[in-house]
């Protein structure tokens, strides 16, 4: 019998529709693979085996009861997916990878998750993350790191490392991630999968535990751009619960494909190829760009002069917002409460004891950046530079349709490589931060491997709300290449 876990999203939906297998078959296959691989990978913080099987059974019953002439069935009916543990799923734990939310059960469901549930998905569990999505390796999870299925001595990237690893290891066909400074694209790149970071405002943030509210976005990781598009289609769109969500119409992300990329103008920003980046990364990305050129695209070098400010600007704005977003975790309402002589003690002991060091570092950074007398020099100045960075992108998109660039300067790091050097770790984000600061969409996908056999990823960026062009371009590329079909031996 063929391994259902290896099918694409389209094949899974088609197979269920054709009656070749049921959602229960599929879900059981995923759960079995999770059970087999989780001891090495640790992609999940919570697995809802019983709930998933029940949901799959309900999906199958619904399909069986469907008759010609009824309303059409939900588009993703019976498709198993995983959800990053920073998104609320009512009745499931939501820890955000933090001790401070230990034992917290979500009292409501996040809008993008609810939309997928309405579209028929089966949720198998919650995936690992750096604590409150702060990190690039999952090493900051309070519940232990996730390992890269390509090589378990390496990190899967982060913060959506659990989702990336689960998809790479074929435990699930797709998983939700979040991207505040690269947290979908960088783990997608490290794990050799495709990941969409939408424009700010394209997907509702309601139910996403906020880290950097003006930067946060909810995306999808899947094996191909097409798989990601099939799922993303049903998450996007305005939400009355999120005042920052856009009312722009959601186009079709899976419309029929052109044969090639003729007429597409691709800009390659020179600031994204820097000294010290891993040569294999630059080579694979340039090869992929050449291949796109061969497919008819016009390629030109462009400049995004403010790129080098991305790290300092991001590490002022995101921590500032985080310092307020995480203030509610004070031991009064959620998770463990440490004792103390007085209220202030309770706060200090609970927050001091239950937040990890990276979270505390960013809360302190952010608190400082907002303090009286420092606001203008730090937070205020960072916002001004952010505006200039947005203009960089506006100008670039006057002359090109998409921007092509590496996702990270390196392939997946070894565990512990930067844990004693936070700044070196922050610099890993230099290529992904600008898209969040500018609010533009980015799509990461695999373009080859380094000499150690670790995946290399590339990202495409487009004008705000032009995710459709990103999906289309990556799908044309993936129709001609098979990097996205490669899978780690771990799961083989």
């Amino acid at each position: 019998m063929r391994d259902l876990c290896l099918l694409s999203v389209g094949e899974m939906l088609g197979g269920m529709a054709a009656g070749e297998f049921t959602s229960q078959d599929l879900t059981q296959a995923c759960l079995a693979r999770m059970a087999a691989l989780e001891p090495q990978i640790h992609a999940f913080l919570f697995i809802d085996a019983d709930g998933a099987v029940n949901a799959a059974r309900a999906a199958d019953a619904r399909r069986a009861a469907w008759r010609m002439g009824d309303d059409s069935l939900p588009p993703l009916l019976g498709l198993p997916i995983a959800v990053k543990d920073v998104l609320m799923v009512q009745g499931m734990p939501c820890t955000c990878g933090s001790k401070i939310l230990e034992g917290f059960i979500a009292p409501y469901t996040a809008t993008p998750v609810q939309r997928l549930l309405d579209a028929g998905v089966v949720i198998v569990g919650k995936t690992n993350t750096d604590e409150f999505a702060m990190g690039s390796s999952t090493e900051n999870s309070a519940y232990g790191p996730t390992r890269n299925p390509w090589n378990t001595a390496h990190v899967p990237g982060g913060s959506s490392g659990g989702s990336a690893a689960a998809v790479a290891a074929r435990m699930v066909p797709a998983a939700l991630g979040t991207d505040t400074g690269g947290s979908v694209r960088q783990p997608a790149s490290f794990c050799g999968v495709s990941g969409i970071k939408p424009s700010y405002g394209r997907v509702s943030r309601y139910g996403l535990v906020a880290y950097g509210s003006s930067l946060d976005s909810v995306g999808v990781l899947a094996r191909s751009a097409e798989d990601a598009a099939l799922v993303f289609q049903h998450m996007a769109g305005q939400d009355a619960m999120d005042a920052t969500s856009s009312d722009l119409q959601v186009p079709s992300y899976t419309a029929s494909l052109p044969q090639n990329l003729s007429g597409l103008r691709i800009g390659v920003p020179k600031e994204y190829f820097i000294d010290g980046m891993q040569p294999a990364v630059e080579q694979r990305v340039r090869e992929a760009i050449a291949q796109m050129e061969a497919l008819g695209a016009q390629v030109a070098e462009i400049s995004l002069p403010y790129t080098s400010y991305a790290v300092p600007v991001y590490y002022l704005i995101a921590p500032a917002e985080a310092s307020a977003n995480l203030a509610r975790f004070d031991g009064i309402r959620y998770g463990p409460r440490e004792t103390g002589e007085n209220l202030l003690d309770v706060y200090h002991h609970t927050r001091g004891g239950c937040f990890g060091s990276e979270v505390k570092r960013r809360i302190m950074l952010g608190t400082y950046a907002l303090s009286a007398g420092y606001y203008d020099a730090y937070y205020g100045q960072a916002q001004k530079v952010r505006t200039l960075m947005k203009r960089d992108y506006d100008k670039a998109f006057e002359i090109v349709d998409v921007i092509a660039a590496p996702v990270a300067p390196t392939t997946a790091l070894r565990f512990g490589q930067h844990t004693d050097d936070p700044l070196a770790m922050y610099l890993e984000d230099v290529f992904t931060l600008p898209a969040n600061l500018a609010g533009v969409p980015g799509l990461a996908f695999p373009v080859g491997f380094d000499t150690a056999g670790l995946p290399v990823g590339m990202q495409l960026m487009a004008k705000p709300f032009n995710e459709a062009l990103l999906f289309q371009t990556a799908r044309v590329f993936q129709a001609q290449t098979d990097w996205h079909r490669r899978m780690p031996e771990q799961g083989g």
């Binding site: 998104l87 609320m88 939501c94 955000c96 939310l101 009292p107 409501y108 996040a110 943030r205 309601y206 139910g207 996403l208 535990v209 906020a210 509210s213 003006s214 009355a240 619960m241 999120d242 005042a243 920052t244 500032a320 917002e321 310092s323 307020a324 995480l326 203030a327 509610r328 975790f329 004070d330 009064i332 309402r333 959620y334 209220l343 706060y347 608190t367 907002l370 303090s371 009286a372 606001y375 937070y379």
Partner: protein, 486 residues
């Protein structure tokens, strides 16, 4: 005794007023009376500050805020910004309060107040929107250990903060401002004015300076003043404290103080060094609040006449004296009732006003009823007034007719007719009664004749009694005089 007159207080008020919207500021939870509702029954993940939730602005609250801004003559900013005010406290579920700071909704207005010294305008610095915090209840367990419970019913209620310039220079001015602002909020229909429910709360900033000086002294803020009386006591005490300090060579520190109801004194809460750094920054979850000219114009259309303007108009248009006008305008339904009645009767306004503030209000007191519960329409009252004016009923009878009208909703004419209450103005009939009374009381008559003239009043009472109170009193008085002198 210290000589208080050598110093002048400078007072600025920050008034927090809850807005009477149906739902909370940023979520769909209903606004409930938090002094009466079961704790934590009007709470959802959003106002409980659950992780992942987001605020969405209540447009009705914005409309109310615009209304207040316009009523106070403020400029309504086309773009205002919500910001996060960060501090830790168990009644603040998110660890920050969504408020406005650098770019408030409305700025630069004024409110006219009336004091013994006449009318003057108090400048308003700003009107901004924010959300209320929850409520803590402090208790003790059986063993005497203190613990606290959190009630989030109030968390997220829409709140308006109205801030004056330091323009108030006496307790009288401060009270007049607070009362006038309360009246304005009630008339606008945005706040019930129920002080005992805590829907209006004050913070006062007080400094003192040598009388006539233009320099401001060190400012002390007193927080949590929840009634006019408390505010007055606290500020009076604070003025006295600062005056005494300065007169005895002391220094006033810039600090935040609280008022102790029991001792009647203010106490230090926070020194300047301990002042909170609220680390305000723009709320990333809410886009800038854009209020277009159309919206402002639409709200302007709904603005009622403000209390001070109405009082002046009542004085000028109806010839009322000031206290009368103030009494009527205290409640707009009463003033409306007065004006409508006035338009239907030739009774002078001043007399009609007395009928309302004396007789109608007496009925409310006696029956324990509200104004709106009286079953009399302006038309019915006008009918009664005409009956009084034309002498068909006398005043005393009319008062009892009014009470019956308010009780029953039956109109005056019918009550008068069906109960035979019409005033007796027939000359012969009255003379006949007078003669009968005199005939039956010859002893009193004799005593009157020999000089006990005050017995005239007694005879008057007897005649009125005999006619069931219906006789025209003026005629009785005149004819009685003639008969007694015969």
């Amino acid at each position: 005794m210290t000589n208080v007159n050598t110093y002048e207080p400078v007072i600025g008020l920050e008034v927090h007023a809850e807005l009477l919207t149906r739902s909370k500021m940023f979520c769909a939870c209903p606004v409930v009376d938090s002094t009466r509702a079961q704790p934590n029954t009007a709470v959802c993940p959003i106002c409980a500050g659950m992780p992942g939730t987001l605020p969405v602005v209540n447009r009705q609250a914005v409309a109310y805020a615009i209304k207040v801004g316009l009523a106070l003559g403020c400029r309504i900013n086309p773009t205002s910004i919500f910001e996060r005010k960060n501090y830790f406290y168990p009644d603040l579920p998110k660890g920050y309060q969504i408020s406005q700071y650098q770019h408030p909704l409305a700025e630069s207005g004024s409110l006219q107040i009336l004091t013994c010294a006449g009318a003057r305008r108090v400048r308003i610095n700003r009107v901004h929107m924010e959300e209320d915090a929850g409520k803590l209840v402090h208790l003790q367990d059986d063993g005497g250990a203190a613990y606290s419970l959190v009630d989030l019913n109030r968390a997220g209620l829409p709140l308006l903060e109205i801030v004056t310039e330091p323009d108030l220079h006496s307790l009288e001015e401060m009270k007049a401002y607070a009362a006038e602002l309360r009246a304005v909020l009630r008339v606008l229909g945005v706040n019930s004015g129920d002080m005992e429910k805590g829907v209006i709360r004050f913070e006062a900033n007080i400094s003192i300076r040598p009388a006539g000086s233009a320099v401001l002294g060190k400012r002390v803020e007193i927080k949590n003043l929840n009634s006019f009386r408390t505010m007055e006591r606290a500020v009076a005490h604070e003025i006295e404290r600062q005056t005494h300090l300065l007169q005895t060579g002391g220094i006033v520190e810039q600090e935040t103080r609280s008022f102790d109801e029991a001792t009647g004194e203010t106490r230090v809460m926070r020194s300047k060094e301990d002042a909170h750094d609220y680390r305000y920054f723009p709320e990333p979850d809410l886009p800038p609040l854009v209020v277009g000219e159309d919206w402002v114009a639409e709200v302007r259309e709904t603005l009622p006449e403000l209390p001070s303007a109405r009082i002046m108009r009542l004085v000028e248009q109806y010839g009322l004296d000031l206290p009368q006008a103030q009494q009527l305008a205290e409640s707009y339904p009463v003033a409306d009732f007065f004006e409508q009645t006035c338009s239907m009767t030739a009774m002078p306004g001043r007399t009609l006003a007395n009928w309302i503030t004396d007789s109608y209000f007496a009925w409310m007191n006696e029956r324990g009823r509200l104004f709106a519960e009286g079953r009399t329409t302006p038309q019915m009252l006008a009918g009664l007034m005409d009956a009084v004016r034309t002498g068909r009923v006398n005043r005393a009878t009319a008062q009892s007719v009014l009470f019956r009208m308010l009780d029953s909703g039956v109109d005056a004419e019918e009550l008068i007719r069906s109960q035979g209450l019409e005033q007796v103005s027939d000359h012969d009939e009255i003379v006949a009664v007078i003669r009968a009374v005199i005939g039956e009381h010859t002893t009193e008559y004799e005593r009157y004749r020999v000089g006990k003239v005050e017995l005239a009043h007694w005879f008057f009472g007897q005649v009125m009694k005999r006619t069931g109170g219906k006789a025209n009193p003026a005629m009785v008085r005149e004819l009685l005089q003639q008969e007694l002198e015969k």
